[in-house]
């Protein structure tokens, strides 16, 4: 278990991390979310004993970062941001070096390195200088270095940074697989990554935890959560806007213009503008926002059916993590 207790770090007058506490257990994959400069990396650097906190502490497997930093380091696999490695070494030698420092020697050391070359698909570049490798390969070298001693705890600072989409998928699958028996903290600013990988997410803004929960729970804090988006065609559809207000449980109805649409809907829509005439009928795109805690999908479907409008699309919104993220880290800002 990693237990972080009111960890804080100041750089001069700047409070980079301002009293963060949380615990992560085995089998959990914790995603650290936050805008650049929110304190994600600093927190990770403190947990991995690279930076001494200004106040507070953290325990990894009951070893305190102040009292037993070497025990903490021995148990953590750490991938620092942008995966630094000794560029004047080749991949094999670099991994042999980390294996030696991790306390392996002889056959065991060689075997571990070979296994890592395999796991991280580095075999074909094993004898190349790290300096000559692409960003994606370097990232994988960093991964190999972090996983070499099969640590119980993994701290990954932006693990998929610089990878192409396929590699990202691979790395995410790898993290998910490892997450079953390890305790993982990863930071990212890619929200889909949190949804794809993490069992829990913590959003950090200005050095504080502003939200902590499962990705689903966080998404449900979105204004969009539970809203119904409709695309309707029919006679006199223009008047429907006021009509739709009557649906039970609906708090607010909003007409969506093309540029309001989420990207994927806009693509599906093609060039066609909402509200344009179609076979003499006009179409309308609206979003119904529910009153707090009310499910409106059912009522909305019934209502539309009764009016005999043609339904081109009917979407129940799950909520948008982007929006939650924005509101918590920017919109909610007082200063």
């Amino acid at each position: 278990m990693i237990a972080v207790e009111s960890l804080a770090k100041s750089f001069g007058s700047i409070r980079a991390v301002d009293g963060i506490s949380f615990t992560v257990g085995k089998g959990e994959i914790l995603g650290f979310l936050g805008p650049n400069g929110a304190g994600k990396s600093t927190t990770m650097k403190m947990i991995t004993t690279f930076l001494p906190p200004t106040s507070g502490t953290a325990k990894v497997a009951d070893f305190d970062i102040w009292e037993n930093p070497l025990e903490v380091r021995a148990r953590i696999g750490y991938l620092p941001e942008s995966a630094p490695s000794y560029k004047d070494m080749n991949v094999y030698d670099f991994l042999m070096f980390t294996a030696e420092v991790r306390g392996y020697d002889g056959e065991e050391r060689k075997n571990r390195v070979m296994r890592m070359l395999e796991t991280c698909n580095l075999k074909e570049v094993a004898w190349q200088l790290i300096d000559t490798l692409s960003k994606g390969y370097r990232q994988r070298v960093g991964f190999a270095q972090a996983l070499l001693h099969d640590p119980e705890y993994l701290v990954l600072d932006e693990p998929t940074d610089g990878l192409d989409p396929n590699q990202k998928q691979e790395v995410r699958a790898l993290i998910r697989r490892m997450g079953r028996e390890k305790c993982i903290i990863l930071s990212t600013h890619i929200l889909e990554e949190v949804e794809a990988v993490c069992s829990r997410a913590i959003i950090i803004g200005n050095g504080r935890i502003v939200a902590d929960g499962t990705p689903e729970a966080l998404r449900s804090r979105s204004v969009l959560h539970g809203a119904v988006t409709l695309e309707l065609t029919g006679e006199g559809i223009k008047d429907a806007l006021a009509d739709l207000q009557k649906i039970e449980g609906v708090a607010r109805v909003e007409e969506l213009k093309n540029d309001d649409l989420p990207a994927k809907a806009a693509v599906a829509e093609g060039e066609e503008a909402a509200g344009s005439a179609k076979n003499g009928k006009s179409s309308l795109r609206v979003r119904l926002f529910p009153k707090k805690g009310v499910a409106i999908a059912h009522e909305a479907a019934k209502f539309v059916h009764e009016r005999k409008w043609e339904v081109d699309a009917f979407t129940l919104e799950k909520g948008d993590l982007n929006e939650v993220f924005y509101n918590l880290t920017r919109g909610g800002e007082k200063a």
Binding site: L70, P80, S82, P84, D88, M89, V101, R102
Partner: protein, 244 residues
Amino acid sequence: MRNLKAVLKRELRGYFESPVAYVFIIIFLLATAGCTFFISRFFDARVASLDPFFVWHPWLYLFLVPAVGMRLWSEERKSGTIELLFTLPITLIEAIAGKFLAAWAFIGIALVLTFPMVLTVGYLGSPDYGIIFTSYLGSFLLAGAYLAVTCLFSAMSKNQVISFVLSVVACFAMVMLGVGVFTDFLNGFLPVRISEAISAFSFFTHFQSFQRGLLDSRAIIYFVSMIGFMLTANAIVLEMKKAE
């Protein structure tokens, strides 16, 4: 200690896997030989002594040792690998000592490669091998002191060039403290006791005692404690600066 060895091996290999090592060794050998034969006029002196060889070491080391040591921490901080190094189960002492010893060993190798000098002087006459031995020891310790200063300044800046320049200036100051011109200047306005105390801190005066063939324990203790002091300062600077 096994981690010290791991760091040492990695650093030492790093020297020999880049052309820097060979360039350095060649320049060092050419410069020492050049100074001995062409400036000190070794043959004209007609004395079977390596004095004209060793007398140049404090001045050649002034540029060559900082060139060897400047990258030790600058590079580590610039490329961010310092974060990797200090999140591996390595202590600060192991890392500092490992790096220092690697660079020192490298300079030692270059020094050993000057052995044709010894052969030459042995072939031409019958030198005092005792003096040659203590001079080599003194030269090696002197290089260690320069290197420790360089390690300290290397930790201070991410920029290797700045590390180099600061190291050269600092080493120059440490040498000049004991050089006649400077002590005479100090004598001009300071009591002799104080100016002597100042020059007692110089690399130069302690190196000279080795050149006289003395295995002076005070000089050995001086160099070893100077190295210890500089490396301790190095550790403090690293702790302060590693986050930047």
